[in-house]
């Protein structure tokens, strides 16, 4: 069996970038901007793989993503996994019904995901937590959603570049979409 090195390289780069950005979000951002809510960098990659990858690959990346992000929060890894899977499935459902690709579509999907995130978080917390969220930090989530959408464009370019160097034509867009 041929080992898909390029595919693995692309995946590794994406996960590495996620860890890097999560560290930046939790450490550097608060050193510079204090309490001002940061963009949700982890969400951008989740959206990217949800709209550019087939379901099986997206699911695999969500597992890796959950493992990569869990150390940065008190939210338990299993709850993270369910939360990310729910988000990914939601994005997948939207993609099945509307898909045209490109950065604009990506930013739109990031916006949708950013706004859905607190609702799903609330639901997941209700499902898993003994002391669940009563009211999410709405203001923080909203600011984060706006910032995430803005930051998603440069990150889209970056992930797209990973796809190219990993010999996966942007294609990703070409080979996905409503199947």
């Amino acid at each position: 069996m041929k080992i898909p090195w390029y595919w693995l390289l692309g995946l590794g780069l994406m996960i590495f970038t996620t860890v890097l950005l999560c560290a930046l979000q939790t450490s550097l951002w608060f050193s510079i901007f204090g309490h001002f809510p940061p963009p949700m960098f982890w969400l951008v990659i989740l959206v990217y793989i949800s709209v550019t990858r087939p379901l099986w690959e997206a699911t695999l990346v969500v597992y890796l993503l959950s493992a990569a992000c869990a150390p940065f929060t008190a939210f338990p890894v299993e709850a993270w996994l369910v939360y990310c899977l729910l988000l990914m499935l939601l994005l997948n459902v939207i993609r099945e019904r509307a898909f045209w690709g490109g950065p604009t579509y990506f930013m739109l999907m990031v916006g949708v995901a950013s706004l859905s995130a607190p609702i799903l978080f609330w639901a997941t917390s209700r499902l898993f937590d003994k002391n669940p969220v009563f009211l999410p930090a709405v203001f923080a989530w909203l600011i984060s959603a706006c910032l995430t959408t803005v930051f998603s464009l440069p990150l889209y370019r970056l992930y797209h570049w990973y796809d190219i160097i990993a010999a996966q034509d942007a294609g990703a867009e070409g080979r996905v979409g409503p199947r």
């Binding site: 008190a74 917390s125 002391n131």
Partner: protein, 281 residues
């Protein structure tokens, strides 16, 4: 041509070249007296001289001013740079002074306490806005273990819940997952301080009959020797007694604004310290 033939041109010439100068030389005129016919020229000359002088000095002044401005601009730039540098130094000095004051307080607290404390610096926060955790720059290799208390001079911060070699994550009191055994200092009523997800916490499992008032201080119970006994957790802000329940729920405002912390202590061993009034210390 006969010499005595009148030639008017010659006469004027002789007068102008010889006679007038001779007369003028021989006139007994005081040298300082000005002739009437020179006065207009003197006036005009003076006026023009002043004009030219003014123009000259104006041009020279403008040129000098311009040249000065170049110098001033350069000097201004230099002074601005110096000011910026001094401001930066002042900022750094102020920061150092504040840090020094903080450290002095911390050191004083550490020395006065019989607890085994480890100072740590906050380096990161939680990834999600609905969780309140912080990461500090001390971990396993500094002697930290899971479920060790984190506190400051002002009160309880939380406790460690994930410890790595060089870092530890602390669950803040305000986090929904945080639970600390607590007592109301005045009445000794016992309950569990639990984060409410926002910036506050609540005291649950208090009996309905327990004596609690708004403003009461909630302190640690000292159970399990994780926290010192009688250390401030927060102040009672609200009391909710349901109509038929057997318990009451009490809102507590934490004594420490943990999200603004820069340094804190990890309690490596509380040594059964009792900080409550009338306690051993």
């Amino acid at each position: 041509m006969n010499f005595f033939t009148f030639d008017l041109r010659k006469i004027f010439l002789v007068i102008a070249l010889v006679i007038v100068p001779l007369i003028a030389i021989n006139m007994q005129r005081k040298s300082e007296e000005e002739m009437w016919f020179t006065k207009p020229f003197t006036f005009a000359g003076a006026l023009l001289q002043r004009g030219f002088s003014g123009l000259s000095s104006g041009v020279r002044g403008t040129t000098a001013l311009y040249l000065d401005l170049i110098g001033v601009k350069r000097q201004n730039d230099e002074l601005k740079a110096q000011l910026a540098e001094l401001n930066a130094q002042l900022g750094a000095m102020t920061e150092l002074k504040l840090e020094n004051e903080r450290m002095a307080k911390i050191l004083g607290f550490q020395q006065a306490s019989k607890m085994n404390l480890l100072a740590a610096r906050v380096i990161a926060r939680d990834l999600l806005p609905d969780h309140s955790t912080i990461t500090v720059d001390r971990g396993l290799k500094h002697g930290i273990q899971k479920h060790m208390a984190a506190l400051t001079i002002g009160g309880v911060v939380g406790y460690t819940f994930r410890v790595e070699n060089d870092t530890s994550q602390i669950l803040l009191l305000a986090d929904r997952y945080a639970v600390i055994d607590a007592i109301v200092q005045r009445s000794r009523a016992r309950g569990l301080a639990e984060g409410d997800g926002a910036a506050g916490s609540k005291l649950r499992d208090l009996k309905r009959s327990d004596d609690v008032k708004v403003g009461d201080l909630v302190v640690t119970s000292g159970l399990s020797n994780i926290f010192p006994k009688g250390f401030p957790i927060g102040t009672v802000t609200a009391i909710d007694k349901t109509r038929y329940g057997v318990t009451q729920e009490v809102g507590v405002r934490p004594a420490v604004d943990a999200l603004n912390l820069e340094e804190l202590f990890i309690v490596l061993n509380a040594n059964h310290e009792d900080l409550s009034p009338g306690g051993e210390d």
